[in-house]
Assembly symmetry: C2
Homo-oligomer: 398 residues x 2
């Protein structure tokens, strides 16, 4: 027989919706505002090549051998130092290198969640996180969001209900995916004041924090964590390269030890070569200048997309103005389906991600996520103009 | 509060026993027969450096970008071709690149196991696999092993009992970890004849299959799989480099699709650079000559260790003569604890892995696993002589 009886966790679960849509729209003449991909011209290609050329001559065999699950010590040391900028003060044994920050969500879920445990999430939130929690058969509790971030009363309500089952709060406080919104500093303090009264762990997912298009520095939620309740997930994917698959977790030693058990049980450790390249990049002082460079480039693209949206989108559509990150979040009039809109848009060779998948418990059918980092200036102009035409026509027919 | 309520799966679970022992014995003058590490001088360092130097000049930015979860197409194509040698005939969509073959065990467990589902395992078996299955709160059913591999009657008995809960059979048919033993070709046929009558999936873990020290080629279990029931896990860790973290899964398209969902939810895809280096190594025709070279080198080490064991170990000890792989498995007299022996051995600066951790349901306190690939000839001589002295003294005192 070949009737493979898969686990309950996979019931009703297809692949990552975004990755599936991205496959669909992989056509050379398609303008895609779909994925959350960095722009190819934002990669530090010359620097990485130079590093590769240099390390090639000095590498010893340890690069090819097994290494520690906790990660490359010089890179962890660099992070202890670098994270002070975000208000995070930690020691070496509170830092774990992982294969992209998404692995941190998976390892956290594995360490914390029994079947039917609850994860409190913002609405909407990062859809891959929702999918990961679903693979652990978690339930969701929704906390509402206002313009300063997660709403404290709503969060408190979620925390008070079903206390025994509440295990994690998952937040993307800075330049959120998908909305682009950022939790204020005061709200961060309030969240940490509140959660210290509960046996709950907060996952702060921060892949975009360094892509700040303002002069205002906002400390990480982790910076206000006096109780060791925050698991901070960081990534080099958006500021150096996603293809290298290097991210990190910052958490209490107790939690890191549990995550390491999960790490040992999956990929044992992150690719040595990837870790060394990322470390060499940081050590040479290339990280900050490179971040500054892409901040300028992405800010330009954000501004351009906003400008053309104002110009070409019909008045019935609203959108966020993100202070950083990769995404603009738009709302069509109520009752209008962005999934249907996408079908029309694809015919015109322009694509985005429908927003409904970012909602843990349904809704959001009239929302859409637009990525501005990956397309060129010309593509942004042409694509938004096209999309404006498609939307206008689509709303007329409705 | 910081009283993190971890998931049930982590109860009574410490880290990987081997990795913990390896940390303990990390002293410069320690002779370790502990880990399953390739020898540093068996790494194709010059070739990898040459590849890195060459690809550095030709790389384009796609190496730094996100790529497909399924893996680098040229590498998957190479595997379709190369695996024919092992009797495995598959198409591209039946091959998935993963970050070391161990990730394949984790993804399989994630795709198949509900809490309390059963995994049928050999006794003893690879301890990291046992740990992974435990993180999914699986139960174990034990099938006995004889000199030709897993015992068919014992396997049948396990399959007939608790049928609804039986989900996976986990096997390391070739040069098994920890025993070094290999399932005969006839037994492979019998196993596949038997399992086709059940809704069960077989995991064939084959990290050592290419490290064959005989002239006899044994086809993979997967070669006899007419029903798409076998998930074959392969690795480049022992034949090129573990530090690059590149392995692969071969399975039916239906199963691969489910594993991809899990892969998307953890590290999204395997490091591009690692995949390209492994592919370039294969493409240049370096793989087979390199395997031949390490087969000669490891066979020499195996023979040397066996020779010194015969010379220095007391007569009460028995051991396997592996036809390939990395390990010799030894049995002390009944009632003698190899954990206690290890404590004495460490004082004399020689180490091995006690065998009890490889048993899913207890037992094996008198067994030990000796790795012969990592130590030098001189270390094998000195270490086995020392260990012989420690064992002899230890048995006298008992």
């Amino acid at each position: 027989m070949s009737n493979a009886p898969f686990a309950d966790r996979l019931k009703n679960m297809s692949g990552n919706v975004i990755r599936e849509i991205l496959k669909l729209i992989q056509q050379p003449d398609m303008i895609s505002f779909g994925g959350g991909m960095p722009s190819a011209d934002a990669f530090p290609m010359a620097e990485v090549k130079e590093i590769m050329a240099e390390i090639t001559s000095t590498l010893d065999t340890s690069i090819l051998q097994y290494s520690s699950s906790e990660g490359y010590v010089p890179l962890r040391e660099f992070l202890c130092h670098w994270l002070k900028k975000k208000g995070i003060n930690v020691t070496l044994d509170e830092v774990l290198i992982i294969s992209g920050s998404q692995q941190g969500i998976d390892l956290t879920a594995k360490a914390f969640l029994n079947v039917s445990d609850k994860v409190i999430v913002e609405n909407p939130t990062y859809l891959a996180a929702l999918q990961i929690f679903k693979t652990y058969e978690a339930q969701f509790a929704i906390a509402q969001v206002d313009e300063e971030g997660i709403n404290i009363n709503s969060l408190k309500e979620a925390l008070e209900k079903d206390t025994d089952r509440n295990k994690l709060i998952y937040l993307v406080p800075t330049f959120q995916n998908p909305t682009g919104l950022t939790m204020s500093k005061e709200r961060r303090q309030q969240v940490m004041e509140l959660v210290k009264n509960y046996d709950i762990t907060v996952v702060e997912d921060d892949p975009y924090g360094s892509l700040n298009y303002t002069d205002e520095e906002i400390p990480a939620l982790k910076a206000f964590d006096k109780t060791g309740q925050v698991i901070y997930l960081g990534s080099f994917s958006k500021i150096i390269s996603p293809g290298l698959r290097v991210g990190y977790v910052v958490a209490s030693k107790e939690i890191i030890n549990k995550l390491v058990i999960g790490k040992q049980a999956t990929d044992v450790h992150t690719s040595n070569l990837s870790q060394v390249i990322v470390y060499e990049f940081c050590k040479r002082g290339l990280l900050e200048p490179h971040i500054d460079k892409i901040r300028v480039a992405y800010k330009e693209k954000r501004d351009l997309m906003l400008k053309y949206m104002t110009e070409y989108f019909p008045k019935e559509i609203n959108w966020t103005i993100p202070a950083g990150g990769l995404f603009i979040w738009a709302e069509l009039p109520a009752g209008v389906s962005s999934v249907d809109l996408l079908k029309e848009a694809i015919k015109e060779k322009v694509a985005f991600i429908p927003g409904n998948s970012f909602f843990a418990s349904g809704g959001g059918e009239n929302t859409m996520r637009l990525n501005f980092s990956n397309a060129s200036h010309e593509e942004i102009k042409v694509g938004i103009e096209k999309l404006g035409r498609v939307v206008s026509k689509f709303l007329e027919v409705k």
